[in-house]
Symmetry: C2
Subunit: 393 residues, 2 copies
């Protein structure tokens, strides 16, 4: 491994070289999984301020959290991909790389002369992954594709929220993150296949496709009825009671998947009559009368605090949980025990959810690079190889 390299812990992808042309959120999220799992990821940034997200808040000191969260464990070099000398360095990297990932608007890489077909010619083993809003094909391939646009067009906003409220954006950039994760899925699959075929491939993932794949219940309702589903708030589409409830202080969730648990719940609440009420006898009955059921449960639950009900219901064997905010979730003992609150470059962030035996999953990881932090070393490394290649050619 070159002396310039970031020392990521060993993982399944140790020894692989990834050229990372991705920017903002979607692509970088996917390539971060590669660096978490051991790959060497070289981020190529444009001259000027580099990846746009370096200028996005929130900041800790002069460090953009937005940038840091999805670029940990990577190296950075600034290259002007329109400059002949920099293009040579880039092409030398391509000759040695295992993976190239990009999330430009479709057509940009072709315009630069770096289409899959062109790069596969100089490195037939290259896995070339493109992530974009709507994919490389189809009538919307060139449509502007922010996360909010994909959430709006995929149906996920329309199925999130309450029946009497507006469509609701998922409170995280779900389309970006799904797209990045499925891009990783494609890269890992193509890397496996390359071991059998010796050949690279073009992976083409769309945030839109990825979000459609996550629609689940709403899509089922559409197929069953031909109509769009209605928003159902926090309750479960097919089970009741299975919802968020207010207590004397905080929200809790209660999940009764069967009649037995419902009877346990009624007893624990001091409402044994509910379990024998004709409206609530079976799950279907409870779904049919879910509003009345919710009112009855809600009245009882408001009489005590969240901690009280958690303890009483837990004791009764009824699935119950607190509704936590992000700060509480981040500090949960479970989060810490699973190394899901890590530190990288002095900043706390969510850890790596892919735990594989035989590899370390450290609590402290290498942070995101400053702009061009590894520029000199990377330019030397890939210029030298260029000369060697020319000599031997």
């Amino acid at each position: 491994m070159p002396a310039t390299s970031v020392k990521n812990p060993a993982g399944p992808f140790t020894g692989l070289l990834v050229i990372d042309l991705t920017h903002v959120l979607n692509g970088p999220f996917g390539t971060t999984i590669l660096s978490d799992l051991g790959a060497r990821v070289v981020k190529i940034e444009p001259p000027g301020h580099g990846d746009d997200t370096r200028t996005y808040g929130p900041f800790v000191g002069d460090q953009s959290l937005y940038f840091s969260f999805v670029n940990r464990g990577k190296e950075s070099v600034v290259l002007n991909l329109k400059d002949p000398a920099d293009r040579d360095i880039f092409l030398n990297m391509v000759r040695q790389a295992d993976v190239l990932a990009e999330n430009f608007r479709p057509g940009t890489m072709q315009h630069l002369g770096f289409s899959y077909e062109e790069l596969a010619e100089i490195n037939p083993r290259l896995i070339y992954a493109s992530s974009s809003g709507f994919g490389q094909t189809g009538p919307l391939a060139h449509f502007a594709a922010y996360d909010t646009i994909i959430q709006a067009m995929s149906g996920i906003m329309d199925e999130t929220g309450f029946a009497d409220g507006p469509p609701t954006r998922v409170g995280t950039s779900l389309a970006d993150l799904c797209g990045g994760t499925f891009m990783f899925c494609g890269i890992a699959s193509a890397l496996y296949a390359r071991e059998k075929t010796g050949k690279g491939a073009h992976v083409d993932v769309a945030m839109f496709d990825a979000t459609l794949a996550f629609l689940e219940h709403g899509f089922m309702s559409y197929v069953a009825t031909g109509a769009a589903p209605t928003r159902i708030g926090n309750r479960h589409p097919f089970m009741a009671p299975f919802d968020v409830f207010e207590t004397g202080d905080k929200h809790i969730v209660i999940c009764c998947g069967n009649d037995h648990l419902f009877a346990q719940l009624c007893n624990a609440l001091g409402l044994p009559g509910l379990a024998t009420d004709a409206r609530f006898l079976t799950n279907s009955d409870r779904i049919a009368h879910q509003a009345a059921l919710k009112d009855a449960l809600q009245s009882a639950l408001k009489a005590h605090l969240s901690e009280y009900w958690q303890s009483v219901l837990h004791e009764a064997g009824v699935p119950v949980a607190p509704l936590l905010n992000v700060a509480e979730a981040a500090q949960l003992p479970q989060t810490l025990a699973r190394n899901m609150l890590i530190e990288a470059g002095g900043v706390q962030m969510p850890g790596n959810p892919v735990k594989i035996s035989g590899y370390d999953d450290p609590k402290v990881r290498v942070g995101a690079p400053s702009l061009n932090q590894h520029g000199d070393a990377l330019r030397r490394e890939f210029a030298a190889h260029a000369q060697a290649a020319n000599v031997s050619a």
Copy 2:
């Protein structure tokens, strides 16, 4: 390939045998990606009604869509894992399998005598993937883990919704689907590593960890301020205007990432004065006065229908999109062009978002199996191998 096999299209995982002990949603979603990408996936179901979701609605005829959506392209055999003869068949499968996936509550596989350590002894190349609510380790490992509970405890519900409204469940089983997707990520990564090491591994993925990894903006706010983020509805945390708006009929989204686009928007709306209003000069100004800005834009937008504004703003180069329901999203020409509306077993469902060159991505795929559909053939296949193994031993 045995004559019993489902004929999935060739993919990167063609030739691999996956034992699928997963049930309900989370695990089956992950193993469906494997079958979509060419693996042979044998679903082992318990005696009785098999996977619980076979009894869940919605139904088309007597086919559960819930079950069909996440079990396409798989084979089904009913095995009683407590019965000695069935255990022998299962262990013969394990000897030949590449992957075993399970999403029982932690401890169940150990109780059956099928822990990773035990199965690795008879097949050291086995990738053994466990998906669960909170993971195999930590104080909450045995806590009940429905999707709603994970959404509640991970912070995602608290960061979804409006500032003046309640925490809001993402309108899809996000925690289940994230967990299943990251389980696939772990399996694909471990399969790649096995090509180098010759060894299997235990993949341990938690729905909770997976959902934490998707928190993004809320987690950043927490790290920056030490406090939980407030809900911000449909708007963007760092850019304005970047939100959902009502028109004369339907909702649209408008995404202006910079001052130039904002000026274009104001001109197109016939409100050029807004762009020079001191409250709205820069993105920071617009964020600081986003409520006033939204009111001003909203009034203008309500004067015409959605179609009109889409056309006018598109013409002006302003990123704009319709807010579609699931039915509209499913039938979008882009969805069809990308094969994201497929048919499997006579039922429409979302397609495979992982597009890799060199492999077919058919519009019609093999459907989910009926209970024990491949039972006789699978029992014969793996009993025969058992005898062969005994003879040669």
